[in-house]
Symmetry: C2
Subunit: 596 residues, 2 copies
Amino acid sequence: MLKDRDISFLLYELLDTEALLKRERYADHSREVFDATIATARDIAEKYLLNHYQKGDANEPTFDGERVRLIPETKVAWDVMRDAGFLKTRGDASEGGLQLPEVIVRASMGHFLAANGGSCAYYFLTLGVIELIRSFGTPDQKQRFLGRLMDGDFSGTMALTEPAQGSALADIRTRAEPQADGTYRVFGQKMFISAGDHDLTDNIVHMVLAKVKGSAPGVKGISLFIVPKYLVNDDGSLGARNDVALAGLLHKMGTRNSTSTALNFGEKDGAIAYLVGEEGKGLACMFQMMNEARIGVGLGATAGASVGLQHSLAYARQRPQGRQPSNRDPASPQVLLVEHADVRRMLLAQKAYVEGALALCFYASSLFEDEHTHPDPEQRQRAGALLSLLTPMVKSWPSKYGCQSNDLAIQVLGGSGYMREFPVEQLYRDQRLNPIHEGTEGIHGLDLLGRKVGADGGAALALLREQVLAVAEEAAGAPALADLAVQVKDSFEQLMTTTQALMPVVARDPSRGLANATLYLDCFGRVLVAWLWLWQALVAERRMAAAQHEDDLNYYQGKLQAARYYIEWELPMTVPAHKLLREVNPVPFDMRDAWF
Amino acid sequence: MLKDRDISFLLYELLDTEALLKRERYADHSREVFDATIATARDIAEKYLLNHYQKGDANEPTFDGERVRLIPETKVAWDVMRDAGFLKTRGDASEGGLQLPEVIVRASMGHFLAANGGSCAYYFLTLGVIELIRSFGTPDQKQRFLGRLMDGDFSGTMALTEPAQGSALADIRTRAEPQADGTYRVFGQKMFISAGDHDLTDNIVHMVLAKVKGSAPGVKGISLFIVPKYLVNDDGSLGARNDVALAGLLHKMGTRNSTSTALNFGEKDGAIAYLVGEEGKGLACMFQMMNEARIGVGLGATAGASVGLQHSLAYARQRPQGRQPSNRDPASPQVLLVEHADVRRMLLAQKAYVEGALALCFYASSLFEDEHTHPDPEQRQRAGALLSLLTPMVKSWPSKYGCQSNDLAIQVLGGSGYMREFPVEQLYRDQRLNPIHEGTEGIHGLDLLGRKVGADGGAALALLREQVLAVAEEAAGAPALADLAVQVKDSFEQLMTTTQALMPVVARDPSRGLANATLYLDCFGRVLVAWLWLWQALVAERRMAAAQHEDDLNYYQGKLQAARYYIEWELPMTVPAHKLLREVNPVPFDMRDAWF
């Protein structure tokens, strides 16, 4: 589970989540409802997801020739989550939804993901399909699929990747043939489809990208289809088995309780498919689900890192080992691991990654919220632009540093950390998926530098700069933070300079200009998280004065120390990166295959 | 397997291994013998170790109540390695040994480790025990154990760690009680003992650290004992089962085909034990084996990284995906992964880590060689001092960057890299052990900054500086390398300045002065490897002029490009580190437990 104190700090101290209650959409809610929702999620996570975290790893899904079988605890968890309404959290009240704000939905998800990321995959993908059909489905599609998905009778997947194409969606080969009745028949193979088959629900709704015969080459030829595993009759009953077959299960290093499948569409007459949106506009629709999933990946990475920190901290607090270097008396008692400076460094780095990443995910969720429900249209537009700019980092930064965080968790435990008798090695294996799925780091680097920062003349970057400078200015007035404020402000201005240096090269010679885009992504992420840390420190500093409880005082002290750690230890790594980026360092670009 | 070209470059182009033939000890050898030894190792590795790399992972050792059972391929490999003489490579001819130079022994080991690190653990530990008994054993101990170990009838372990003490050997509790007949009885529990039980050999010789009753507290009370699983009669036959029992098997994330055991000594009357060396001098003896094992860990980490690079390069060379960013035509053909700049960056980083680490391991082995066989006593002393200084990096640098390298190998393969259907995920899991065993990173940081750099008034550091500046001076004369030479020289001088700033703090307040020792270790390692890259580039630059074959030209070009990558992309990360180190940054040190 996430740490409750981290959630309440972000929701009610850093962000003003209570202010959402003033928006008409949330007028019937209260802070009590928000908190009860999150508490219910924690409770479910603890009782029904965590209970089979290790069992699901040791007992992978199997195919019995008919369908994929999961360990039964997975179905129990699905049912409990469904019955508690967690498939309806976003939906409008008019659709039977709970109409909850995005940050509350995400905070609840955070608990689920912390308990058992693998088992949650079915749930998350279904949530994404629900949103996709809500946004783009026809009345008939909604009538046939939406209610059943929200009720948890059906589950969903996103079927994008193919064996021969990987990250490059432009090259998908799955084809859709229009039929006289307005449906399509889909033929092709999809790969790495999470939740592509299982025994949790009666039906599975695949959201499939395919190209209609004769459509434009590249991404402009991509259309989006609903392809159910079983057809759904007009009366809602299940009809014939559609022409979708499991070609095989893939066997992952971690997150093993979520199936990863290869699916064949149209081995016989073609899989019956329903067009979503317009022909050739499929990718634009799908991006809604992908962007939501990207925030989900960032949150999942954060949750795994949080659990790793909690385990390694607990271990370091109970395990005596060695003495301080200044103590030369071998007869004196051992000290706890947490007393060693290097162990504290490892725990502090984890804290900086975990709480930096969580702030990033919650901030992104608040932007999502504002994009959709802010009363001021200009604010909606601004929030949307900012979120679009930040999405590559929301996906990638927690994924990269989540891996480093879980690596440190192992190191704190030493030999025990490497053993399956302790839980941190599984977190490390699970976490490694995150820098890959929903776009690799490389893909997000290209997206950020090749599209996002230059979009609309750099408008979103300018908006971000306003936010950063506002926090830096306030922090400059707090004596304990003034030096950190200078560093954050300076690092953002360095980022602006680097961006301005790169943009003409990207425009003139995209291959060369984008060659170091992954480094740019990391550099941007570090600056962004440094700002979020300064912001957290500013809030902590202000609240310390009025804090009544020692726990709160300690928590705020921890925020200040972690902010200082991040800004002094991690942010300066951008300095060498700026140099490489500005000179458009050609070393990787110029490397030749034959020289390896 | 390691890349043969990497081995020949290091042995015969960077180091002058043929010059060893002039030393009396190697007078009967030839380059052909050296090469044939390494080729035999490669052949064995390919046929008998690689064949069960995945099987050993999927079928862990099990305990049948009597002994631990390994998959049978492990025993076949053991027998083949033994029969080919690989347990006798270092031994004197007078003992039946092959009397081979250390670099040849290590190059052969490199192939074994690359094929199957888990299965090699039995072999490596036995080699270490052989050397330990050769160096410190009594004539009776040699007669009873040494020949049997060299013949592969017995195998060996090092039994240091205990459940309640971890890295801090000063606190071991295993006790040894002297007996009237000159033997001892040992009582205690050891933990994480690799190869602690198995079915490869009739007997297992445990090298056990224990404290004789009444001895001094701390490390000065530690003695070293031989504790065989079965006693050995005077005629060489096996006697009674000694009082050593398997308490349990531990289950690792990777390197699963090497058993990790908990062993109980003295559940009944005490395990019969034979003192090696003097009472209270056990740790000094054991350090011989530990130092050898530390180089072995560095080499194993390097080997795993090398295999990851080979796999990911092969994948990138055959997998078409996407187009160059400058190509806007979606109808044009896909390019290979290796054509993408970001993929080349990931491969180039792996190359920089792998070949930098291999140069470090081979250089360390050449120092070991000179320490033991150089005809000039002063050179022997210098080599020994340098090796002692560098050992923390030889262990730690390949381990840390081997993990990063195998992480990049997964990333190059994308989704496939995460699947057990492809081999890189297992390498990633295996590799993670290396920053833990034979001393964690934290321990080596303390060793380097707390003991090694200051030893003998900094004599070894001064020796290293001579070596570094000599290479930098030569490289400064080569136009293609002049800028890199300046950077390497400057980085070493920065390291000297940082060291001088830290030493008084370490002396005055060790706890504070050593608080950032792990950062110092990384900083030192980066500088060291940058120097080794400059040296490799210098050799490549010189040999290019005379190179006849395109393969050689390409290889040397690759060396130049990788050197430039390392010095331009990785070395500058030391700049922020120097600042933190010099200011004795107090953030982790000052962090309080309650603030987490």
